[in-house]
Amino acid sequence: MRKLRVEELKPGMFLSKTIRDEKGNALLRKGVKLNSSLIHLLCKRRIPVVWVKDENILQDNATIEIKRKEIEKSLEAKFRYVTQNPIMEELKSILLQYLLKRQIE
């Protein structure tokens, strides 16, 4: 399974995790097959990211590179307080590798 932004969703994909609102209420249950109107509604509800099952998703090198950059950017932001510290750099690096692997597999 992998995490996609709502604009990356395509009809026919299956949710691999239940979508919840900010209060934790379940909106759409895992296993639901997405169609274009559901995707549209998710956009309207400003659901940022959604977990979907792996079928029908093609990952080319360019996509992987984009993902890597996104993860790197997000980790850089989280680690902004602890830069220039070897142990924290090492931690950041293993998290990057792991998160990327999780996205691709």
Partner: protein
Amino acid sequence: MKMDEIRKSIDRMSKLPTIAVMLNKCSELMENSSVSASAVAEMISKDQSITSMVLRLVNSSFYGLPQKINSVNQAIVVLGFNTVRNLVLSCSVFDVFWKGDGSTRFSMFEFWKHSIGCAAVAKIIGSRVGVHQFEDAFIAGLLHDVGKIVLARYFRDDFLMILRIVQEKNMLFKEVEKQILGFTHAEIGGYLAKKWNLPGNLIEGITFHHTPSLSKNNTNLVLAVHLADIVCRGLGFGSGGDDLIPQLDTSAWNNSGLTMRVLEKLLPEIDKEIERASDFLSVLTEEENKDEQVASNQDKFWSKNQ
């Protein structure tokens, strides 16, 4: 505000004793070897709300037991005293503290997600660094940020001010707390834990979760919580109000014998356990296991948007 004021307010909180009474009775009964499982079960069963929560958890996919458990007594026989005591503690705390502060800036769901994620990760790391009772690492992880809830609930103005600065200036929550209050949620949580008469390792786990090397007797358990907090933030699981990674306490880390290589190898297991912990939270919030509730939410979602 001075820490003294917070202490006085905590002393005055009317709902808190419920948890303390429940816990003390549990511990008392469990420490006394002549007391039977059924005596403990009977005491717990007197609180129906806690009992039903405990039974829902015990029967959830989190434990994945082959047979249905119908009573607290049966749960103690199958899962053991410590696990049930910890479940009772989790449910009692959750029962009192689940409700949000009404602030749009702070999501209680994300907060508990972070807390439960930390609990699951602390348990895994705890077992790796030789924490004998790694179930306690789970509870320490679950409660490590309880001081933030005290702030959100009882010192709302200060809490909202801290949250606003955290988000506007993108700072660590504990740094803003130091600036505004002169102390942090860790100290508040530690005081509350003492008030509840929690065991020393849990008090230290909460008080020193940002500074495990200051722990006197439980450095490894506290490190497990400290590291769990960092890993959950890194993996983006839930949020305790800020979205930044604090500095790892290198002294405690170096003494633990852990290496980044070991941590790297633990990540898949940690991720799986975090996923399981989501089930734990779903049961506590009564959403996932109620199909009709989900269906009704789905209906609301549709009707609102069409």
